[in-house]
């Protein structure tokens, strides 16, 4: 009996050692920060993703986005910055859940990303970037979405 117990303990220990080695190559934020993807509003999502750190407004990150989007199904967004950014995330308040995309910037690369998002209504979008020194930088912008594409 004692031997059996001892063996099963060994298996558990081996599993515990093996666990952290999976996914060492890269960070999939859907696995590590699962909570952030269920948050409805940006502040909650940002908290779940980046923790309680102070958000510093910045002008060193440039976001190019239309002021008025005629097609809410495809809004082009461009993020550009020369800061040493580790992680940059994009949140919006227009959809049922806030988190949209999180980029982990590989070592030595600069932020220069273009992508397109869906928004159901006029809302604020927020970008939060974590730099290498652990500071959180943020900027936001309101994007008008005209439903029906009348452009008014």
């Amino acid at each position: 009996m004692e031997r059996r117990n001892f063996l099963s303990m060994g298996v558990v220990a081996a599993a515990a050692i093996l666990m952290p080695t999976t996914g060492l190559m890269a960070t999939n934020f859907r696995e590590t920060k699962a909570k952030a993807w269920d948050a409805e509003k940006s502040p909650e999502a940002i908290k779940a993703m980046f923790g309680d750190g102070e958000l510093i407004p910045t002008d060193k990150i440039k976001m190019t986005a239309p002021k008025l989007a005629e097609n809410g199904g495809s809004i082009p967004i461009r993020l550009k910055s020369d800061l040493d950014i580790e992680t940059i995330a994009f949140f919006q308040d227009a959809n049922p859940r806030s988190a949209t995309v999180v980029f982990s910037v590989p070592e030595g690369q600069k932020v220069n990303y273009s992508f397109r998002v869906k928004m159901r209504q006029t809302a604020y979008v927020t970008v939060v970037a974590k730099t290498k020194d652990g500071k959180l930088h943020t900027l936001n912008k309101e994007i008008d979405v005209s439903i029906g594409g009348c452009g008014g």
């Binding site: 960070t27 999939n28 859907r30 859940r97 949209t100 982990s104 590989p106 690369q109 990303y113 273009s114």
Partner: protein, 101 residues
């Protein structure tokens, strides 16, 4: 699941400019219900060149359909292979690669 991905990569003065389009409906739970389809969206994209990660993004269903990404990176030259791997919400993965021009 995505059928193919289109990759365009061009090197100029040491900077590689990449345009990549993935095929996916990008339908989150609510949208899928409306259209009466199963939710399907890409959750994770990773791009590698010379065994180094050059692009990494975790996405949700609120990206537009057939997401188009543009980005640039340094540290690769003409003729190098650029490889993308995407994972969708069902855990399926797909890989595509292209040589940098």
């Amino acid at each position: 699941m995505a059928k193919d991905m289109k990759i365009k990569a061009k090197e100029k003065n040491g900077v590689v400019n990449v345009k990549v389009m993935f095929t996916s409906l990008m339908a989150d739970a609510e949208e899928a219900e409306k259209k009466k389809i199963k939710p399907e969206f890409i959750t994770y994209i990773v791009g590698k060149s010379n065994d180094k990660v050059v692009f990494e993004a975790t996405t949700s269903g609120f990206m537009s359909e057939n997401p188009l990404m543009k980005f640039s990176f340094t540290g690769a030259k003409k003729g190098d292979e650029l490889e993308f791997t995407i994972t969708d919400n069902h855990g399926k993965t797909e890989t595509g690669s292209k040589k940098i021009k």
